[in-house]
């Protein structure tokens, strides 16, 4: 019961935050000096063509009405038109969103279990060579720019060894066998960064639990190390580990931006970067809102899962 109420509150707060973000996205662009009609049509446009454009694009209506319309059509899946290419944004985004989700999902699918295993292993065998090795490598992976990891992999695997294509060309109707070579390097690059965070945080969460007195008790009872970890410590670390995993998946969703650029992967991140450079406001607004929604949704899931696996924290 508590849990449902807590979940409801978190979701309501998340929706509210999204509304605030959408308003910020809309009104800050609105507040910019300069006329979007002139920006599109160029300096040579006559007043008549500008007026016609404003009417066609609905720019002549009051700002609050336009915000309401924009939000309503956004929810309905109509994202407006790109300023630069005049194309429908939903069409621009559709395939790319799918590509990005594939990339993120595949990465999460193997990075999450691997990181949890390595994190638990380094907490169990704390202070051993394995732990120190994992700790050093993960610290290095965190401290290094993602594009560096990407290009090193690219230089070794694609260029030196010539095993995989260096550019990820994606087209409609690709079979599974065609997806694999395209995804290996981008996924590996993202997995490096995300896993490093996840391993360190999983280890920290487990080490924290392992210092509780009931673990000391279990040890004094003479239980084996493995039994202590899997029967006593791990169930109590599920809650922090859950939130760690979802926080990092949220991070991963944003991390795709850089990786997509490195591997010229046609995803949402690449579209966002291109549109920022062109100052294509409607596309930037739409992609930013999608990224923010994903981020907030994952944070809510992380909160709810954390609470569900630790009932004591819900009352607070």
């Amino acid at each position: 019961m508590y849990l449902i109420r807590m979940a409801g509150q978190r979701i309501a707060a998340g929706v509210l935050t999204l509304l605030v973000i959408s308003a910020l996205l809309f009104f800050s662009i609105e507040a910019l000096p300069g006329d979007p009609a002139r920006a599109v049509l160029g300096q040579t446009a006559t007043p008549e063509t500008i007026a016609a454009f404003r009417k066609e694009a609905g720019l002549d209506r009051p700002v609050l009405v336009r915000y309401g319309d924009w939000l309503a059509s956004f929810v309905a899946g109509d994202l407006g038109r790109s300023l630069a290419s005049r194309r429908d944004i939903s069409g621009l985004i559709g395939d790319r969103l799918f590509n990005t989700l594939i990339l993120a999902a595949v990465t999460a699918l193997f990075a999450v279990p691997l990181s949890i295993i390595l994190g638990v292993a380094s907490a169990v065998w704390r202070g051993t060579l394995l732990d120190r090795l994992i700790s050093t490598v993960s610290l290095a992976a965190i401290s290094v720019p993602e594009f560096f990891i990407g290009y090193i992999l690219l230089a070794i695997v694609a260029v030196q060894l010539n095993l995989l294509p260096s550019i990820s060309s994606v087209h409609g109707g690709m079979s599974l066998a065609q997806w694999v070579p395209v995804l290996v390097l981008p996924c590996l690059t993202m997995a490096m960064a995300v896993s490093a965070h996840m391993i360190r945080m999983t280890r920290a969460a487990l080490v924290d639990v392992m210092s509780s007195s009931f673990i000391e008790m279990a040890r004094l009872k003479g239980l084996s190390n493995l039994r202590i970890v899997f029967r006593h410590a791990l169930p109590n670390a599920v809650s922090p580990i859950c939130s760690v995993v979802f926080l990092n998946i949220a991070y991963l969703i944003v991390g795709v931006v850089v990786v997509e650029v490195v591997f010229v992967y046609p995803g949402l991140g690449q579209l966002l970067v291109d549109s920022v450079a062109k100052r294509d406001f409607p596309v930037v607004q739409a992609t930013c809102l999608i990224f923010a929604t994903a981020n907030i949704a994952l944070n809510i899931i992380s909160d709810i899962l954390g609470a569900a696996s630790n009932p004591r924290s819900v009352g607070r």
Binding site: L25, P145, F147, F148, Y151, I253, L272, V273, V276, F281
Partner: protein, 276 residues
């Protein structure tokens, strides 16, 4: 006084890291004296391989890679320092103000930063750069605000710990001003944890600026910058030329070194390191 008796704990690792950081600082300060060629001087053909004249070869426009890396230390490092400082002034002052100036201020400032932090930093930055266009000033301001929001949380938490101490209560009872409380009571006592935070934040900012530059949205050409150098010359990697990786390696070496130094600093002064 803090440093007393702690030098014997210095390991080889820390010495190495300090040497790298020092080296970058020297390169940044004396770039025009050290660099063999000018920052945007075209000296040869495109992607010339390393030779005695051009130790790291040339870039996509025929400029000397080594010289640009040296100038890059100055540009990338300088802007990272400025952005981090701004973020600190901003985050620490608002964090301390939140604690000292009462609940109303605390709530207002807190909610504003909550909104800044509810969206991913990269997304906030990309959106701001769309609005105001790419430029060094915009870059510094955007990072100052987004990173400032994170520092705000640390500074506020640190200040709350200090605020409950008796000497702050005494100062309050003496009727000292908010300004006095922040500058004379909170700041000196929060110095060590904030120093540790500074190192970590600097790494974040450096990586962030490099990432934005790599995406073509940070420092603009012809300014030499470690991130955009990788971007401009990335195509060369496809031809088996690996010098474009050197600026990326420079970023990595600098951030890893700072991390090593901060680890040593934290373990010596017992400040809790927060993973973020």
């Amino acid at each position: 006084m803090l440093m007393k008796g702690s030098f014997q704990h210095l390991s080889l690792r820390v010495y190495g890291a300090a040497a790298i950081v020092l080296c970058v600082i020297v390169l940044a300060l004396f770039a025009p004296l050290i660099a063999p060629y000018g920052e945007s001087q075209i000296v040869s053909g495109m992607w010339e391989s390393p030779s005695r004249d051009y130790l790291l070869g040339t870039d996509s426009l025929g400029r000397d890679m080594l010289s640009r890396i040296i100038y890059g230390a100055r540009n990338t490092g300088g802007i990272a320092v400025m952005a981090t400082l701004l973020a600190f002034v901003f985050g620490v002052s608002s964090g301390f103000l939140s604690v000292v100036a009462g609940r109303v201020v605390d709530n207002i400032v807190g909610r504003i930063f909550d909104i800044v932090l509810s969206a991913p930093t990269l997304i906030v930055a990309l959106f701001s750069l769309t609005m105001f266009g790419t430029g060094t000033l915009v870059l510094i301001l955007v990072i100052g605000i987004t990173e400032g929001a994170r520092i705000y949380r640390v500074a506020r938490a640190t200040a709350i710990d200090i605020d409950v101490k008796d000497f702050v209560l005494v100062a309050r009872l003496r009727g000292e001003s908010v300004r006095y409380l922040i500058l004379k009571e909170l700041l000196p006592n929060a110095f060590v944890p904030l120093m540790a935070e500074f190192g970590l934040r600097f790494c974040f900012v450096l990586l962030f600026i490099s990432t934005l530059s790599f995406l073509g949205l940070g420092l603009q050409p012809p300014t030499a910058d470690w991130g955009s150098m990788v971007r401009d010359n990335a195509d060369a990697i496809g031809f088996g030329i690996f010098t474009p990786l050197v600026p990326a390696a420079a970023i990595a070496a600098l951030t890893i070194s700072i991390n090593v130094i901060m680890d040593w600093f934290v373990s010596n002064y017992g400040v809790a390191r927060n993973e973020a």
